[in-house]
Symmetry: C2
Subunit: 568 residues, 2 copies
């Protein structure tokens, strides 16, 4: 498998960056939260030689006279670097390097894109990619192998659904994988069939039947994907991301970037299962590496699937499929065993739970384990989309962190109503209820399942309206967050969820100088303007790692430019 970008693309572009020194970013509309979560405004930021914040200044403060550099913020809004509390770093890079169908709005449009891609890359042995969503296409059914065969029949094609919980294969791919009408669905997965024949769609674990025949990316390709992911995230104002499902191969790529000086974003690693956890970190979480840029501190466990593919485990059957209640991948005892295995050695479990049955199961487990494993555990539930209202108070009782993605709510709205019916939405994407119950929130995007853009996330969080303003007034608007709560979710909430408070998430003395300069004030601007926020600069650890001006004046080939080197 070859990738469109050659290794030369890794050649690092270093803008004239100030060396570590005492510096001042002046004339900004600075916003941060203080340790009590209150908004603090300031007009200038003083950075020390270690790349940490030395002081926030207001108009009345006099900046020191001895400065190594001074930058005019030109009145732009300065925020702490935003933290995506749930994303997939390598997936983000690979999605950008492979066929991306996330912008297609019909099957025909997708078919055209696939045909064009196949023509453009005649030497790729497999056509891989993802981003399709039959709901968005209004297809009313899954796409089929035949739909793919009509555009690419000579080579295998395997395309992931936008939520990562289903794959769409053509006949050639099924042939290579030896899939026949007799092939049985594996545990935790389902081969979609019609008249007893596989139609070409494979749910959850069934994807693996074909996935295992796709050539694995080489280390150099992984490094490219990491570089691409950094470029995408930093250009959108994200300075740190919780990487959900880090594998040992991903980790080695992160370490190469750290060792070679081009790791610019902070990655909070959550290993993909216990085996990866042990392979990566061994007997305990890694220390914070590369000036707090990288740590493996937890493990991602999967308890159920997704709502769209009816894999989310529900207490009662799906409203639109009365015989199905979803897939719970782990028995109660298995979940507890895995959580215990992690927690015993000081790792933080982050359990994927979407359906109300899965969420109740995680909460039950936390409830039982909390007696034995006391201390500051910060149990995390990833997504926590559908929580039975009776379970909400228990989230608060155990200080459980709900790691949620506001844009999922706006994307899923109609689908969730179809899957659940009208009477089970009381704890659906229930951000405000979770906070009121004393639970903790960390917000993110689930990139590449949704685009990373955190401003779309903030806008969705405060409106529960989609990009078109629908539904007017917001879906179940009582669950909207205030602007301050939304900002906290993408800053202090994400830091706390990864044991990184005190390092990042706020701008205060001693914190890493991670910040962005943007053209809107998210505490004042309209949701529409927030969505349209332009990130002018992104700084990590007191160094500029993205400047839009460098993009505009720079290489025409590149839509945006990221500073990934640190000039070793």
């Amino acid at each position: 498998m070859k990738w469109p970008i050659t290794s030369a693309a890794l050649a690092l572009c270093l803008l004239a960056a100030p060396a570590h020194a005492d510096g001042l970013i002046d004339n900004v509309n600075g916003i941060t939260l203080d340790e009590d979560g209150k908004v603090v405004r300031f007009t200038a930021l003083l950075i020390d030689r270690d790349g940490k914040v030395s002081q926030l200044l207001t108009r009345k403060d006099k900046p020191p006279k001895q400065l190594d550099y001074k930058t005019d913020g030109k009145g732009m809004t300065m925020l702490p670097g935003l933290i995506d509390a749930h994303g997939h770093v390598m997936g983000t890079g690979f999605q950008a390097l492979t066929l991306d169908l996330s912008d297609t709005s019909s099957l025909a449009e997708a078919q055209a894109a696939i045909a064009a891609y196949a023509a453009k890359y005649p030497d790729r042995r497999w056509i891989i990619g993802g981003g399709w969503n039959q709901e968005k296409w209004g297809l009313g059914r899954f796409p089929t192998a035949a739909d793919l065969d009509s555009v690419v029949a000579d080579r295998p094609v395997l395309l992931e659904r936008v939520d990562g919980h289903a794959s769409w294969a053509n006949s050639r791919a099924m042939e290579i994988a030896g899939i026949t009408p007799a092939t049985k669905s594996p545990d935790g997965g389902r081969i979609e069939k019609a008249d007893g024949k596989p139609i070409g769609v494979f749910i959850d674990a069934a994807s693996g039947l074909i996935q295992k025949f796709v050539p694995t990316p080489k280390p150099a390709e992984r490094d490219l994907a990491l570089a691409k992911a950094q470029e995408i995230l930093l250009s959108q104002g994200i300075t740190a991301i919780a990487d959900m499902g880090t594998t040992i191969d991903d980790w080695q790529s992160y370490r190469r970037a750290g060792d070679d000086g081009w790791l610019s974003i902070r990655i909070f690693g959550y290993a993909g299962g216990i085996d990866n956890m042990v392979a990566i970190a061994g007997p305990r979480p890694t220390p914070w590496l590369y000036d707090d840029k990288l740590r493996l501190g937890g493990v991602k466990l999967y308890l159920d699937g997704a709502l769209g593919s009816r894999g989310a485990a529900l207490k009662a059957p799906y409203a639109d499929a009365p015989k199905e209640k979803g897939l719970q991948f782990l028995a109660s005892a298995e979940l507890r065993n895995l959580m215990v295995r992690a927690v015993m050695d000081g790792f933080q479990p982050a359990v994927h739970a979407i359906g109300d049955a899965a969420n109740a199961e995680v909460i039950n487990a936390v409830e039982e384990l909390s007696d034995t494993f006391t201390g500051d555990r910060r149990w995390r539930i990833e997504h926590a989309q559908i929580v039975d209202p009776v379970d909400l108070p228990r989230l608060g009782r155990h200080g459980i962190i709900s790691s949620m993605q506001p844009v999922h709510q706006t994307s899923d709205r109609l689908m969730a109503e179809a899957r659940l019916g009208p009477d089970r939405l009381g704890g659906a994407y229930a951000w405000q209820s979770i906070l009121k119950a004393g639970g903790k929130l960390a917000l993110g995007s689930d990139v590449p399942v949704e685009p990373a853009n955190p401003f779309a996330g903030i806008a969705a969080a405060i409106t529960r309206e989609d990009a078109n303003g629908a539904p007017f007034g917001g879906w179940r608007p009582q669950e909207r967050l205030t602007r301050e709560q939304a900002l906290a979710g993408f800053t202090t909430g994400g830091a706390y969820a990864a044991f990184a408070e005190g390092k990042v998430g706020r701008l205060a003395t001693g914190y890493r100088a991670d910040f962005i300069l943007i053209n809107t004030d998210p505490l004042l601007a309209s949701p529409r303007d927030i969505r349209a926020t332009i990130v002018e600069e992104t700084w990590v650890g007191g160094r500029p790692v993205y400047k839009r001006s460098a993009v505009k004046s720079g290489n025409e080939d590149s839509q945006d430019k990221t500073i990934t080197g640190e000039g070793r």
Copy 2:
């Protein structure tokens, strides 16, 4: 599997070490080689704040007055830290933590040791260890499962031969592994049989049939083994070691030590095969990490077995087994493919070759590849024990590095004569002939196959006599090295072989201040005194990492004490 030392043993012991600062080690009998390989003598060493040598001083030089610390060398001899060009770091640690039979001189003595060990550790599910040598026992045959069953029958036992090329199992272990008379020898290995029944000894790849049932060590146990290996090596004056056959699990342990600040020895990693190479380093060698303490720069490939087990690949049959010519694990094309795979991405191949056929094969491969892969490749042959004299000139022609272990010669002498007969010894352990032919030498121990002690290595190198002075005058004495050549082999030779010249191996301005203080001058002392050398202090990067005085006055439980922390 549990290990005798608990995690608490990892608690780091930090002697009152000077912080990085300008320091002087005064009043020493300093010896180093200069860049032309000539001996330089000096009386004091000046160390800078980065832990590098700033100056060598002689009596006539005035030391600077402004010093952060000053240490009296009390007239001791100072050498550059010694480099073991071929060892197995984790194996060294694990050997020390498991049953070690290397000191036993008869089967009965070994059986007593095994019985005692089994009684001491009743909770170990497997009894594992190694170090046995039926030649040393004068047994005249391999030991058998029955020999083991008579002392341990209830639990599986698996013990490696001293050279790592054979394993000895009891009946319980064979039962667990499902070994029966019908079990066939795998490729590259041999199940020793008598009357068609497996006797309990498994040669080379056949060891894997049982090995795969032994529980693998956990990361915490690996870390213990690394800590133990450092303790052993540093206390013997070894400050750097080429680790032959690094696995991804080994590597993760080295990184944990580096990340947590307790990596004290320098490890030049050679990955155990291409898969480990890719998993560890990816698309190119890693950078030098942790102030030049760790790098994965090459790959270890196995071409043949060992002479003792008649696995070494010979051009003509064994003198004492006329139907056998040894085992060549890779076909010519396979060897070339693996070497190309490594060299294309800038990795350095280090090929294990012991028999004359294997050595000729590697030289042939280098000869062919040298046309395509020009530049500074530093092709390495590990062991290079039996080279056909006709092939010797070709070692020089291609600048091939022979990485050899002087003590192997003294241990193997009689066995080599038996295996080869009198007429094939012209290129046996032919150190001086290799140098005369223009080849390069790097010396080491192959620890834990032989003890690490580099002074035993130097003594063997200059005498070709064993510890008892036999044979008087040395075995094939024309191959003895001069004292300067032997010192070079354990310093500059090992550095060059690992692309570490300019960093370590000499004491000169800008080099890492790695040195030892010892009680003998190896350029003047008798071979007997050289063997008995006492290492008083070992320093790495300008910090003391071992002091014998701390051991003598320290904890009685510990025979020697190593400073493994750096006080972060």
